[in-house]
């Protein structure tokens, strides 16, 4: 029906009383997300948008079990909050903040692995199963149900592309933002595996960028194990080497992570790579029309 989250998913908001936390709690509720509680140390007993606020995650899940937690926590405190969620048994963690120290992200991922938990982000817009559950900060209106799964390293560019899809009448199953940092929880391969298993997803759009090797690994996986068509768009064709292009992970270092290497790998895996974001819908229609 969808991947990772659906209309049953029970969501906790860590950092709910902050500006971002309270604003997006309202937006997520408006989208239909089941938010069962919020956490803000020292603010227990308050409520935000009708959602009860607790002092700790343990207290919250003691009152109401939760499947997922979204963190609106300043970067220096994100590690502690993430480890708390993991220790309290949360299995899906969505890390919105950017600028989480790299070693903290490494720690979070290590403990998530031990707890068999999925981490989305950090520095992500989150994920959304269209029409069912949004755990993130993306604008509500672009995410309408349909047959396409989307997975992206960047936010606004993903909205741009999903916007083009929506305008041309193609909706989405689940849209996942991997996050722009050097160390993030989910990689393309993880999400592609889930989309391959999801009966409602007929085609996948992969929005990548220069830096790292996630696209190359995705290409190898697509080649070896995927039956569903994948369309890609990659940002950073014009980026010079050695410069960090906004995202910590978007950098061509020591000749690795180039645009060319990624396009070559994806093309070899029979993935169609769109020249412009605008071209994505036509390529998608070609493959889902042919199904």
């Amino acid at each position: 029906m969808s991947i990772y989250i659906n209309d049953k998913t029970r969501v906790l908001v860590q950092g709910i009383t902050g500006n971002q936390g309270s604003f997006h709690t309202g937006q997520m509720l408006a989208y239909g997300t089941k938010i069962i509680g919020g956490v803000s140390p020292g603010k227990g007993g308050q409520s935000v948008e009708g959602v009860p606020v607790y002092d700790t995650v343990f207290e919250a899940v003691d009152k109401e079990p939760a499947d997922a937690s979204i963190l609106f926590i300043p970067a220096p405190f994100a590690r502690d909050a993430a480890l708390e969620a993991l220790a309290a048994g949360i299995k899906i963690l969505v890390l919105i903040p950017e600028h989480i120290p790299l070693q903290d992200a490494i720690d979070i991922m290590a403990h998530a692995r031990q707890n068999d938990a999925v981490v989305v982000g950090p520095n992500t817009f989150g994920l959304v199963t269209s029409g069912a559950c949004k755990i993130g900060i993306m604008p509500n209106q672009y995410f309408v149900p349909g047959p396409v799964g989307v997975v992206s390293r960047s936010g606004t560019l993903c909205y741009e592309i999903v916007g083009h899809l929506t305008e041309s009448g193609v909706g989405t199953t689940t849209v996942v933002g991997l996050g722009g940092d050097r160390v993030v929880g989910l990689h393309f391969v993880d999400v592609l595996k889930e989309f391959e298993k999801d009966p409602e997803t007929k085609a996948i759009v992969l929005v990548g960028e220069i830096g790292g090797s996630a696209e190359e690994e995705a290409a190898a996986f697509i080649k070896s194990s995927m039956t569903k068509p994948v369309i890609a768009y990659l940002a950073g064709k014009s980026a010079p080497p050695g410069k960090r292009m906004g995202h910590a992970g978007a950098i061509i270092e020591r000749g690795r992570g180039t645009f060319e290497s990624k396009v070559e790998a994806l093309t070899a895996a029979k993935v169609k790579v769109a020249d412009l974001p605008t071209n994505v819908p036509d390529l998608v229609k070609e493959v889902i029309g042919g199904k």
């Binding site: 490494i106 993903c158 929880g185 014009s238 995202h247 000749g255």
Partner: protein
């Protein structure tokens, strides 16, 4: 933040990693004094560029006179666009073998990874893949003796050199973790008659964790524009084209540059002013861009957290206070789009809803 070699070596020393005896000097006279004390020396320009040696930024000297002359020469050199304020004068070490050793982050494994090769001294890109041992470290376990022994077995290293590695690797790992390094590289790691000595030091500290290290100096080897962008907390990269680009989000900013190139234009910069910036911050970003004297200004806004009215308001404000005397192509969709469009129309700017149209218009403006 990349650290100068001498700062990296100060960290090494603090963590018990052997470095050559040396002095940091700020004028050529001190080079002669250092050489008088240390004997045969190597003099190294303290700049951040990787190709120091090939460009002549490293010299050997066997007398104080020679050291002074070489220091004078190196102080005058420009390397990677910068001249050095400091040189490092070190006692020349007797090298029996050059080893490559680094700890960095493996994004796929989500772990620190130890890289070791017995082919040290050369550029790491030139080390054959099969001669490089990679060991991702589970941080919940840490760097343990058994890992070092296994790395040594794979390298074919035994006996006293293995013992040296058993002492060294946990120290470098500790530095890497505690100092929030992204990279801690020793190349070459010199095997000398006294054991392993770090003949070079390349340490990069995670910018996002700098707040945890107030004792580290802030390195300012950047252009004035880059420094200003850093102050404003903007993601900014100078490029050599003539269309200034400003967008919200790293991916879409890259995609905008790509599209400029696609339509035959050439971007002057990468500027992602992030999500949720207010009028003040957006204005400052705009002013920074205008200061680079581009020929065309392209603004691409897909509003999510970023509000279109805020961006339009900032544009109008800067236009009024500083004047904007160049052609502008503006794309504006998303949150509070209608309000933004009204503000822009008031100052005579027609905005696009399509990114393609806005970008191709910007390229057209260049030709106009």
């Amino acid at each position: 933040m990349k650290l100068y070699e001498y700062l990296g070596k100060e960290l090494f020393d603090r963590y018990g990693i052997a470095v050559p005896a040396g002095r940091v000097i700020e004028n050529a006279g001190q080079a002669a004094e250092a050489a008088a004390e240390l004997g045969e020396v190597v003099i190294k320009s303290q700049v951040l560029t990787g190709k120091r040696g090939k460009a002549g930024g490293i010299a050997f000297a066997s007398s104080p006179d020679e050291a002074k002359k070489e220091a004078e020469r190196i102080f005058k050199m420009e390397l990677g666009g910068f001249t050095a304020d400091k040189l490092l004068v070190e006692k020349k070490v007797q090298i029996e073998q050059e080893i490559y050793l680094a700890i960095t982050v493996d994004g796929t494994a989500q772990r620190p990874v130890v890289l070791v090769s017995l082919d040290g001294g050369m550029d790491v890109e030139d080390v054959p893949e099969e001669r490089m041992i990679r060991w991702p470290v589970d941080v919940t376990v840490g760097m343990q003796g058994f890992m070092v022994r296994e790395i040594c077995r794979k390298l074919g290293v035994k006996g006293s050199l293995q013992k040296e590695f058993l002492k060294l690797l946990p120290k470098l790992y500790k530095l890497f973790r505690e100092m929030d390094a992204e990279l801690a590289e020793i190349n070459p790691l010199a095997l000398t008659p006294d054991g392993l000595v770090a003949a070079d030091a390349k340490v990069t500290i995670d910018d996002d964790a700098l707040y945890r290290h107030p004792q580290l100096p802030r390195i300012k080897e950047k252009t004035a524009l880059e420094l200003r962008a850093e102050e404003l907390d903007l993601a900014y990269v100078e490029l050599d084209g003539d269309i200034a680009v400003m967008a919200n989000g790293a991916g879409i900013t890259m995609a905008t540059l790509d599209m400029v190139q696609h339509y035959g234009g050439s971007p002057a910069n990468f500027l992602d002013f992030g999500g949720g910036a207010d009028v003040e911050k957006t204005s400052q970003a705009l002013e920074l861009l205008l200061g680079t004297n581009p020929r065309v200004l392209l603004i691409n806004i897909f509003g999510g957290i970023t509000r279109c009215d805020v961006v339009a308001e900032a544009f109008a404000r800067v236009r009024e206070s500083k004047g904007i005397n160049l052609p502008v192509s503006f794309r504006l969709v998303g949150t509070n789009e209608a309000e933004g469009r009204v503000i822009l129309e008031k100052v005579g700017i027609k905005s696009f809803t399509s990114m393609d149209e806005a970008v191709s218009h910007a390229v057209d403006l260049l030709g106009a």
